[in-house]
């Protein structure tokens, strides 16, 4: 467990080199390059906004989620970081089998490459989000605020959650290729079981709110993003504790799992 963390720190140069090449490689040969990475979130944003503002017409006005597109953006962008990192990270060891099997290669770097490169996509999308909030502000909505200074902490803690999960899932996926398929479906469900499309307070049943708030590792993060970005206030102390708890649990468990399975990776991939 400590070994994995230590090796990741030692090979951070390699990690960074691979991240750079992943970012460059993804859009090489495409005309609009990096902007494609913004297109998908923006389309999702447009679709969800349309569906939830004009079709379902929920009670956003009184629930603290208005204007809805801005509210949605604050939860959706981080979620895209979560889901793409986990999906790509989980398959990364099999994709990099050539490196692991034939060379002295620190395998733990591979899942982290996707966590980091998707984090960078997320960070690069933040100016768009900030621009949106600014426009909202100019139009007279009470969005955004100094709470955004908490953002690095929230992102840092979520990085540990995603990183730990990606490491553990990637190592498991080497033994069971079903892991990735299960993950795809779990993520599809989680999109709706995480307060992204709605604030947690919208859940009518107390037990449902409790379950999602305490059992879904991404719920406190999503709420924290909504509070720091959309509402512009500091995250509630309870949320901070929950996030720290999840970050520690996921990282410890993920790196432990990876460390346990790492001896057998070269043979199993």
């Amino acid at each position: 467990m400590l070994d994995v963390t230590r090796r990741l720190l030692r090979y951070r140069g390699l990690l960074w080199t691979l991240v750079v090449r992943e970012l460059k490689g993804r859009y090489r040969g495409s005309f609009l390059g990096f902007f494609w990475s913004l297109v998908n979130p923006l389309i999702l944003l447009a679709v969800y906004s349309f569906v939830f503002t004009y079709i379902f017409r929920p009670r956003f006005a009184d629930g603290g989620a208005s204007p809805y597109p801005l509210f949605l953006m604050c939860g959706l962008f981080p979620w895209i970081w979560v889901s793409t990192s986990l999906l790509e990270g989980t398959g990364s060891l099999l994709a990099g089998a050539g490196l692991i099997r034939r060379a002295v290669f620190p395998a733990e770097v591979l899942p982290m490459v996707f966590v980091v490169s998707n984090l960078i996509h997320f960070l690069l999308a933040l100016p768009v989000l900030a621009g949106g909030l600014l426009i909202g502000r100019l139009l007279g909505h009470p969005v955004g605020g100094w709470g955004a200074v908490w953002l690095p902490l929230v992102i840092g803690l979520e990085f540990l959650v995603i990183g730990g999960m990606a490491l553990g899932l990637a190592a498991l996926n080497v033994h069971f290729k079903d892991v990735k398929d299960i993950l795809t479906n779990v993520l599809a469900v989680l999109l709706y079981l995480t307060p992204i499309l709605f604030p947690l307070s919208f859940i009518a049943w107390d037990w449902g709110r409790w379950a999602i708030g305490w059992l879904n590792p991404f719920a406190p993060f999503s709420t924290a993003f909504q509070q720091t970005l959309f509402t512009g206030v500091a995250p509630e102390p309870l949320l901070l504790l929950q996030m720290i708890g999840w970050a520690a649990t996921a990282w410890v468990l993920g790196t432990w799992l990876f460390g346990r399975l790492s001896d057998s990776l070269a043979e199993a991939v």
Partner: protein, 456 residues
């Protein structure tokens, strides 16, 4: 002297990849940190067994053995890619490994970026790589291709780049598998010079090779692995020789078995009067014989019944050391009295190069009568062929080339030599030097002074 690599009771089992083991291997990987702990003996494939050896610092250590003998597994355990299932291995210092072609390269990205990734894997910082980058590229000779994705590289280019990065990262221990054989001659020489410099600086090299010449020239000690077990360790010349002898013996046995098999097949097939395979114009059979080479043709008015090889003392054998006395013996049966006949033999390499061929006409014999069964021997005292595999053609035919029985590759044999050299001919020779020539190493049994004959 302190060791660089120490293995004690080292063993490695692979698991058989069958359904149903997965859950158990995962459980054992999680609980015991081993994939094979929970498996029964018949679910395992042993690759290396109970291996103990030490490689000293500054030593060039070679591992030889046939395919599947566990050499690469051993190398991967030293590199830390694979974990041993028994015993332990201790490695002191930073290891750079050139294990498989293109290993550690990302196919989709440019050579330039790969140098950085490869260097980072080998433990260099970005700045350190930048400092050595030009040197790496220059040594590899790939300056023009550095911006190409490496998937477009040839296998030789892979090796050039891989070796160049590995040697320039200045590891303590360099592991080299067969890959160097892929590079061209000039590059191989440059590699070897670099490795020699590397050794001179007190670094350690572990080399796996099928090139026994390289091993003998290069290594301080040699380990011979046979089916995962140590057969012999020690002086590379001695070990390589023992290995050559063992290979030749196995081949000799195989030739013998193949020959017996062929003979029994010939007896069954020789019932028809005319050889049907060679003369057949049937569509199907013609196609077949086009694909498979025609190895026998002729009218069989006279027929080669057997062919064998004898050593100088008259015992049948098919593996020789260059310079041995060799006898080719063929038994010919004439189905009728023939007046026009020639016996011929020819030696070919496996790739079809004719090394030597002669017949009774060329030797000056004029035929008179051939009847019944006869034995023909070609006696070659001190046959000095170069090391390698050869096959024998024999023929009985008329003076104008009219074939009674022509058999290609009726048998094959192996030559080994006590000394290295290339080519098919291995004349007795010696080295003489006059003037200001001094040698730091002289073949065993000779003094190093000039103006002395060096008989080999």
């Amino acid at each position: 002297m302190s060791y660089a690599i120490e293995a004690r009771g080292l063993g490695k089992d692979y698991r058989r990849m069958a359904a149903g083991y997965k859950l158990r291997t995962l459980k054992s990987a999680l609980l015991e940190r081993s994939l094979t702990q929970g498996l029964r003996q018949d679910e395992l494939i042993p690759a290396v067994r109970d291996l103990s050896f030490t490689v000293d610092r500054g030593e060039a250590f070679a591992v030889i053995g046939s395919n599947g003998s566990g050499k690469s597994t051993l190398l991967k355990m030293v590199a830390g890619i694979l974990k041993p299932t028994a015993g332990e291995i201790k490695v002191k210092g930073r290891v750079a490994a050139l294990i498989e072609l293109g290993a550690g390269f990302h196919p989709e990205i440019s050579g330039r970026e790969n140098v950085f990734i490869n260097g980072a894997v080998l433990g260099l910082s970005r700045r350190e790589i930048e400092r050595r980058y030009d040197e790496i590229v220059e040594f590899s000779g790939l300056a023009k291709f550095m911006d190409e994705p490496v998937k477009n590289y040839s296998s030789g280019m892979y090796v050039r780049l891989g070796f160049s990065v590995a040697i320039h990262t200045d590891p303590d221990i360099l592991l080299v598998d067969e890959v160097l054989a892929v590079g061209d001659e000039a590059f191989a020489h440059r590699c070897i010079r670099r490795i020699e410099e590397f050794l001179a600086r007190g670094r350690t090299v572990l080399l796996v090779s099928h090139s026994l010449g390289l091993v003998e020239e290069f290594a301080d000690r040699c380990l011979w692995l046979d089916a995962g077990v140590e057969r012999l360790t020690g002086n590379p010349r001695r070990v390589a020789d023992a290995y050559r002898r063992a290979v030749a013996e196995t081949e000799g046995r195989e030739h013998q078995a193949a020959k017996e098999h062929r003979e029994s097949a010939v007896q069954i097939a020789s019932a028809p009067e005319i050889d049907s395979v060679a003369d057949s114009t049937d569509g199907e059979e013609a196609q077949e014989s086009e694909a498979a080479e025609v190895l026998r043709w002729g009218t069989r008015e006279a027929e080669v019944v057997t062919a064998r090889m004898l050593s100088g003392d008259g015992t049948e054998r098919y593996n020789f050391v260059s310079g041995d006395d060799v006898v080719f013996e063929i038994r010919v049966k004439a189905r009728k009295r023939l007046h026009d006949f020639v016996f011929g033999v020819g030696i070919f390499t496996f790739r079809g190069l004719e090394c030597w061929g002669t017949n009774t006409t060329l030797a000056g014999f004029e035929s008179e009568v051939l009847s019944g069964e006869v034995t023909v021997r070609v006696v070659c005292p001190e046959l000095r062929l170069g090391p390698g595999e050869y096959s024998l053609d024999v023929a009985v035919h008329g003076r104008d080339g009219y074939a009674y029985d022509y058999q290609r590759r009726i048998l094959s044999f192996t030559m080994t030599a006590r000394e290295q050299g290339v080519g098919v001919y291995f004349p007795r020779h010696e080295w003489e030097f006059e003037g200001g020539v001094k040698w730091s190493t002289v073949p065993s049994g000779h003094s190093g002074r000039s103006q002395e004959k060096h008989d080999v």
